[in-house]
């Protein structure tokens, strides 16, 4: 209990929570505005994903107190992050293989008149 209280004392202040909340609301509206104005392009996708990463970082650091608890839980989180990056890389390799082996040839096959 004492430990919990000490951790809470070291945590964010009320106004930190409110500022984070306003930032999250703003970023959500911003990502929707980017979608409406820029559509489905690669540029819009990049901006929207960057905004999502910023939003999740804010939630993790302030709402989940990781800014203050990092030294206590990094041993759990870092291995998982490594695994996540590795899984993503494995998925990406698979996608590149799909593009290389199928690519436009399949388009031509699919769009060719059938007899």
């Amino acid at each position: 209990m004492t430990e919990s209280h000490a951790a809470a004392h070291a945590g964010p202040r009320f106004k930190d929570y409110m500022r984070t909340f306003y930032a999250l609301m703003f970023l959500t509206v911003a990502s929707y505005v980017v979608y409406v104005t820029m559509g489905h392009g690669l540029g819009a996708a990049g901006i929207i994903l960057v905004l999502a990463i910023i939003k999740s970082s804010l939630i993790i650091t302030i709402f989940m107190h990781l800014y203050f608890d990092w030294k206590k839980v990094y041993g759990i989180i870092i291995p998982v992050m490594i695994l996540c990056v590795m899984s993503t890389m494995i998925f990406l390799v698979d996608q590149v293989m799909v593009w290389r082996h199928v690519g436009d040839t399949a388009t031509e096959q699919l769009q060719a008149p059938r007899h």
């Binding site: 999250l24 990502s31 999502a52 939630i59 799909v98 399949a106 008149p113």
Partner: protein, 301 residues
């Protein structure tokens, strides 16, 4: 001797944080892996199509309302703030305010699930379910498509579909023309040339007319008429898997909040539960983070 032992500093094994919090973080990392696998599989399926020229369904194709997704994101962010404030008030020994915040979180979670249920009902009513979407309209699928369209047109023409005048007239005309038409031609009359031309998967066998056809659904988008959606089944599988598992997590959180409110009603909730609220908050914020990524991946990108 006993005095000397008592003066020794107490040693703790493990990490310098409460057991409950450690357990919650361990649970959350397994959840991170679970959702990484789900989202990664979705991205692989979405981008690993045979060709880049055959597009993944757009939100409009599958009746996905982006504004509903954005609204749900705002709802979850508000609920995250409420949980964090509940923890704050409990730390300040203000149990009444903390209970109110938990109640508000529960209400916001219910709103999220309500919007999700409405979105699901939209998919169900348009037949956008795994294995139920018409993709290529050849062979047996084309025959089933025509039979399905015939039944739905009869329903609309009988006045049950609440179609506008223009769409009603087009539906009557299509019902008359239906015998002898191919599934691709019917699809074009339903969805319109503008839509069909964006789906090259059907280009080789679509109607050979040079005229642009305005589809019945362009005249009245509220009508429940199926049309060919290439990769629609794959999209539906991904959508329901991702949002379904996320909604189950939201439901789990709501059960815990309900238990806390029951405890409060029985006057068994107090500052001694600060650790519990912090741990529940960690879980709820994680659910929020998952949605922060699901929203752009499913609705915007």
């Amino acid at each position: 001797m006993a005095h000397a032992v008592a003066e020794e500093p107490t040693l703790h094994m493990g990490m310098p944080l409460p057991n409950g919090k450690l357990a919650m973080w361990l649970f959350l990392v397994t959840e991170i892996m679970f959702f990484t696998a789900l989202v990664g599989t979705y991205l692989l399926l979405r981008n690993g199509q045979p060709t880049a020229r055959q597009p993944w369904p757009t939100p409009h194709d599958v009746h996905l309302a982006e504004w509903a997704g954005a609204g749900n994101t705002l709802v979850l962010i508000c609920s995250s703030l409420c949980v964090v404030l509940a923890h704050w008030y409990l730390h300040e020994h203000n149990v009444r305010k903390a209970t109110q915040m938990i109640g508000l979180t529960l209400a916001l979670g219910c709103i999220f699930l309500g919007v999700k249920a409405w979105e699901y009902s939209q998919k169900f009513s348009h037949g956008i379910l795994p294995g139920r979407v018409y993709e290529k309209l050849d062979g047996e699928t084309g025959y089933r498509y025509i039979r399905d369209i015939k039944e739905r047109l009869e329903h609309i023409v009988a006045g049950h579909g609440h179609a506008n005048e223009k769409a009603l007239a087009a539906s009557k005309q299509l019902l008359e023309d239906l015998p002898g038409m191919t599934a691709q031609q019917v699809n074009e009359r339903v969805a319109g040339t503008k839509y069909v031309e964006t789906k090259p998967i059907d280009l080789p066998r679509r109607a050979s007319t040079q005229d642009k056809i305005t589809g019945i659904l362009e005249m009245d988008p509220s009508l429940h008429l199926p049309y060919s959606i290439p990769y629609g089944n794959l999209w539906a599988s991904c959508y329901f898997a991702l949002t379904g598992f996320h909604a189950l997590h939201v439901l789990g959180g709501l059960v815990i909040f309900t238990v806390i409110l029951v405890m409060a009603a029985l006057s068994r909730f107090g500052p001694q539960h600060e650790g519990l609220i912090e741990n529940v908050g960690l879980y709820w914020h994680f659910v929020d983070i998952v949605w922060v990524f699901l929203f752009p991946f499913l609705y915007l990108v």
